[in-house]
């Protein structure tokens, strides 16, 4: 026997009756059909005939539902009872589940659309939450500021020992002033074995105290441990403690060797603490001798301070300005009138996160736009469905359900949909997060803390609820507005008249939003393309680099270090796999900058900030050859440009143009006031400009000095241009360093090409994400347009049929439908252009992400418009074709 119960359940539209009444009715109708079927069989009917007989008992289930609904309606319509909110809600939800299960295609498509939007937003929000929203891992982080020396055009200058001491003594608005310097990668040895390269920060003894951070194990530094002879203590990071020491609780008091120097571990930093950077493994007191400070002109410290209680940043800045004027008056040689010297304060949060904030917020906004489009799409799907459900809604109205009740029912459905989408979205975000983090630029702080935690889940839940309400409100309002009486009388489809207009509005809105996103992505793409075409000024291919830091214990004199590097360079040059090799103090795109005041013979500085302060770099012979930086005039450094020969320098083209104009600078002389004896240095060559910090930044005028003549730096980068394989050269560098000094560690070994690529990683990350969001947006908008156009054609089938019967040609119908769809697209695009222009004007952060294009780039705009018009044509094509295939006779009959 057929399952009549299942048949009845599948046929009978939901009645929305309370309690078990609906089940009773289903039971009763089932029994009726069973009995009809059984007696038909008993009369000798065939199985097939019996089934048909039973089915004929109810020819129109919708009508039956309407009749039952009318019969069950209260005799006099009772007013709505708001007190029954909760049971009603439960019923609404139950009803919603059933209604959604009955339309699986609609449910799946809507939930998937919402999952995309919610997933994208949740994933980006989890990054924003960890990077921007969580408080910095210091106590009362809002009181912390960075203090810089500021020199005219350079607001973020380092600080010298005397300056640090002066600030501590004179600033009453600052409760604590701490300093640190990054010492780069140093070799750490524990009880013999290979040295491990660790990132060391040399700090003042009070750094932890000023940041308000206690050791997780042991202690941090004691006052006075940054004075000479007491610096043999270190605090290790939580990460290093776990990685290298297996989280050994007995680590405190152990002696390890740092660059061959024995030091005692006194403490372990707490988990989550990372300062100055996530990469910091170890902190050691910097020798900051109060009685014998280094020269005032030796700027190498970074300073972080805590604003005193009851004082604010403005007061502190004002006081530091006064201190700066005092220092200037007391030390005119170090801060000459034209230097533009002052002291600048910057909130620590801004300094740490200010750089990444605009991009992240922009991405969050983009994800939000995708979600908005998803909402619009689902709303338009619901409208189309709501139109087909007119009769069902009318039945419920006849049952005595008020309009508010109906609207609430539909809202419950959209909330359910959103909940399914939300759960799927969070799962998708969880899956996407590792990929997102792998793509993220290394400069993004606190990346390791990104996870989907309570805050993110809460935000996702809120977003889901909001999504449900937004996508459901409009359709609910539309349906509740419909006239029940008219619907019950109308044809079987029960379309809600006038439902087309809101859908069209949604298509326009979707197109506009997609246009804004695509335009943004287009601008980033154009910027990126321009960046890729930026000449770095050197040839990165085939060059291997590594950093070598020589410990002062084993290389006490600067000549020792120079000699080591020169021997290393020659050894590498002799290597069969190497074309040429060099060492330098800070290679291009390494991010390190180091400017120095220079006195140019015969040049009189004009006005404040007019004193030449070019970038300063120590390089070995072969440097320009190895990086293929063109020598434009004069010569490169030679092996005999050493301490025994007259001092020479090479300058970059931009420096030559800036101070010598059209004259030939070769043979002219400069002097460095910073050097104790400050001898004249003769310029022997001019080389091409090189991008020092990033491809997106302008070139900086640069002064090159031979390291054999100055030799101030004990940490140098080794460069080797490989004949065939740069990876082999990479290994070659480590091998030859160890040949020369067995205990010497090599750090940051990598290919120059990777360095170039890494310098673009932030842009690449932004572009990829925004591109992905834009693609999603365009796809969603396309699907939305398609859905609405198909629906419109369906609704107009009869009308089109009549017109075709009256002689309208297929081409005419096709053109008309296409025109209708394209009109929507054009309206959306116009709105989108308006939106883009307004956004470009208001979001100034956008222009900080662009390179070589304006925020209203007409070429990008044109490309985006064309692309979206194309998408609209594609989306309208199938519905338009369907319209032309309308058979007039069939169409007319359907009415």
């Amino acid at each position: 026997m057929p399952d009549w119960r299942a048949y009845v359940k599948s046929k009978l539209p939901p009645l929305g009756l309370r309690g078990g009444r609906e089940t009773e009715i289903v039971d009763e109708l089932t029994q009726e059909l069973e009995q009809c079927y059984a007696s038909a069989l008993a009369r000798g009917a065939s199985e097939e005939e019996a089934v048909r007989t039973a089915m004929e008992e109810v020819p129109d289930w919708t009508a039956l539902a309407g009749e039952i609904a009318a019969a069950e309606a209260p005799v006099a319509a009772a007013p709505e009872r708001p007190a029954r909110l909760l049971p009603d809600l439960r019923q609404d939800l139950r009803y919603g589940v059933r209604a959604l299960c009955k339309a699986p295609a609609f449910t799946l498509l809507s939930a998937l659309t919402l999952a995309l939007g919610i997933g994208a937003t949740t994933a980006i929000f989890s990054v924003v939450n960890a990077v921007l929203l969580k408080p910095l891992p210091f106590s009362r982080p809002e009181e912390l500021v960075r203090v810089w020396t500021s020199w005219g055009g350079y607001p973020n200058g380092s600080v010298s020992d005397p300056e640090l001491h002066d600030w501590r003594d004179r600033a009453s608005t600052l409760a604590g002033v701490a300093a640190y310097a990054q010492r780069g990668g140093l070799g750490l040895t524990t009880g013999g074995g290979e040295p491990e390269t660790v990132n060391v920060a040399a700090t003042s003894a009070n750094l932890f105290e000023v940041l308000g951070v206690r050791a997780a194990l042991g202690r941090t530094f004691l006052p006075g441990e940054d004075q000479p002879g007491k610096t043999g203590v270190v605090v290790i990071s939580q990460g290093l403690w776990r990685r290298r020491f297996g989280a050994d609780p007995g680590i405190v008091g152990r002696t390890v060797s740092l660059q061959g120097e024995p030091v005692t571990v006194v403490g372990v930093s707490p988990a989550g603490f990372a300062y100055p950077g996530a990469e910091t493994d170890l902190w050691q007191p910097a020798p900051l001798d109060r009685h014998k400070p280094r020269p005032r002109g030796n700027h190498y410290l970074r300073v972080v301070a805590r604003v005193a209680p009851q004082r604010d940043l403005r007061q502190a800045a004002a006081e530091m300005e006064v201190v700066a004027r005092q220092l200037q008056a007391e030390n005119p040689a170090e801060y000459p009138p034209g230097s533009g010297f002052t002291v600048a304060l910057q909130p620590l949060r801004e300094q740490m996160l200010g750089r990444v904030e605009p991009a992240l917020l922009l991405l969050l906004g983009a994800a939000g736009l995708v979600l908005s489009i998803a909402c619009a799409n689902v709303a338009s799907l619901m409208l189309a469905r709501g139109a087909g459900r007119g009769r069902e809604i009318a039945i419920r109205t006849a049952l005595g359900a008020g309009r508010a009740r109906i609207a609430r029912q539909l809202l419950a459905e959209s909330l359910l949909l959103a909940a399914v989408g939300g759960i799927a979205g969070v799962l998708a975000a969880e899956l996407a997060l590792p990929v997102l983090l792998a793509l993220a630029p290394p400069g993004l702080p606190r990346l390791s803390e990104v996870r989907i935690d309570g805050v993110v889940l809460g935000a996702a839940a809120l977003l889901t609820a909001l999504t449900g309400v937004t996508s459901g409100l409009f359709p609910a309002w539309q349906s509740a507005r419909a006239d029940a009486n008219q619907l019950l009388k109308s044809g079987r489809t029960g379309a809600i008249a006038g439902a087309r207009r809101p859908q069209k509005m949604l298509v326009v809105a979707e197109t506009a939003l997609a246009m804004v996103l695509l335009f943004g992505a287009g601008l980033l793409l154009r910027s990126f393309a321009k960046l890729l075409h930026e000449e770095p000024g050197f040839e990165a291919k085939q060059v291997a680099t590594a950093v070598v830091s020589l410990p002062a214990v084993r290389y006490p004199k600067r000549e020792d270090a120079s000699r080591f590097f020169e021997r290393l360079r020659r050894s590498l040059e002799e290597s069969p796999g190497t074309v040429s090799a060099a060492v330098c103090s800070n290679p291009p795109l390494s991010g390190w900058i180091n400017d120095n005041l220079v006195i140019i013979e015969g040049y009189v500085p004009r006005g404040p900030g007019g004193r030449p302060d070019p970038e300063y770099r120590e390089v070995s012979p072969g440097y320009f050859r190895t990086l293929r930086i063109p020598v434009l005039k004069g010569r490169e450094f030679a092996e005999d440009d050493d301490a025994q020969h007259p001092r020479v320098a090479i300058i970059s083209r931009s420096l030559a143009v800036k101070y010598w104009g059209s004259e030939d600078p070769v043979g002219r002389r400069v002097r460095r006031p910073e050097e104790p004896d400050s001898k004249w240095i003769r310029i022997v060559g001019v080389v091409g400009d090189v991008k020092q910090t990033a491809l997106s930044n302008p070139v900086m005028p640069t002064l090159y000095l031979p390291h054999l003549q100055s030799g101030l730096v004990s940490t140098m980068t080794v460069l080797a241009r490989a004949a065939v394989d740069a990876d082999t050269s990479l290994a070659d560098i480590s091998r030859r360093v160890r040949e020369l000094d067995r205990g010497q560690a090599v750090s940051e070994a990598r290919l120059m090409e990777d360095l170039v690529s890494e310098s673009l990683s932030a842009q690449r990350f932004n572009l990829r994400l925004l591109g992905l969001f834009a693609a999603l947006a365009v796809a969603l908008a396309g699907v939305g347009t398609f859905g609405v156009m198909r629906y419109i054609v369906e609704q107009r089938t009869a009308e089109i049929g009549v017109r075709m019967a009256l002689g309208a040609g297929r081409g005419q119908v096709l053109g008309e439908v296409l025109r209708e769809g394209l009109a929507l697209a054009v309206a959306g695009l116009a709105l989108g252009i308006l939106g883009s222009v307004v956004l470009a004007r208001t979001i100034t952060a956008l222009s900080s992400l662009l390179h070589g294009v304006t925020a209203t780039d007409p070429l990008t705009l044109a490309a985006v418009l064309l692309l979206l018009l194309g998408v609209a044509v594609v989306a309208c094509w199938a519905p338009a074709r369907k319209a032309t295939s309308v058979d007039p006779t069939v169409a007319l009959r359907s009415e």
Partner: protein, 115 residues
């Protein structure tokens, strides 16, 4: 209307409540039984599809004229039996009276011929 006979549908509509109430006068019956009784007693002239019968039953129940109860008989499955309530009994009598008066009036009008 081309059919010279009276519209069955209209007739049924006017008399449906009376027919159902009448089948329940002697004893409670379930839905299928009510439909069958009507068909039997009218010798097949009046037949109700489930689609029209059940809404009528629900309407009568809602008016309080009949009352449905689930009953389980030995060896049979649970069924919903409708019985006449006192209000239903009164309604039946009233309807029957007015129907009979109406039928008689119709008969008087249509059967008297002026020869």
């Amino acid at each position: 209307m081309a059919d010279p006979a009276l519209d069955q549908h209209q007739l049924k509509k006017g008399s449906a409540e009376l027919l159902i109430l009448a089948t329940l006068e002697d004893r409670p019956r379930h839905g299928y039984d009510i439909g069958r009784q009507i068909a039997l007693r009218s010798k097949g002239t009046v037949r109700f599809h489930a689609a029209s019968l059940y809404p009528l039953l629900y309407r009568l129940a809602r008016k309080g004229w009949i009352h449905g109860r689930w009953l389980e008989k030995e060896g049979q499955r649970r069924r919903r039996y409708y019985r006449l309530t006192p209000a239903g009994q009164k309604a039946l009598e009233a309807q029957r009276r007015s129907w009979q008066e109406f039928a008689a009036a119709i008969a008087r009008v249509t059967q008297v011929r002026h020869a």
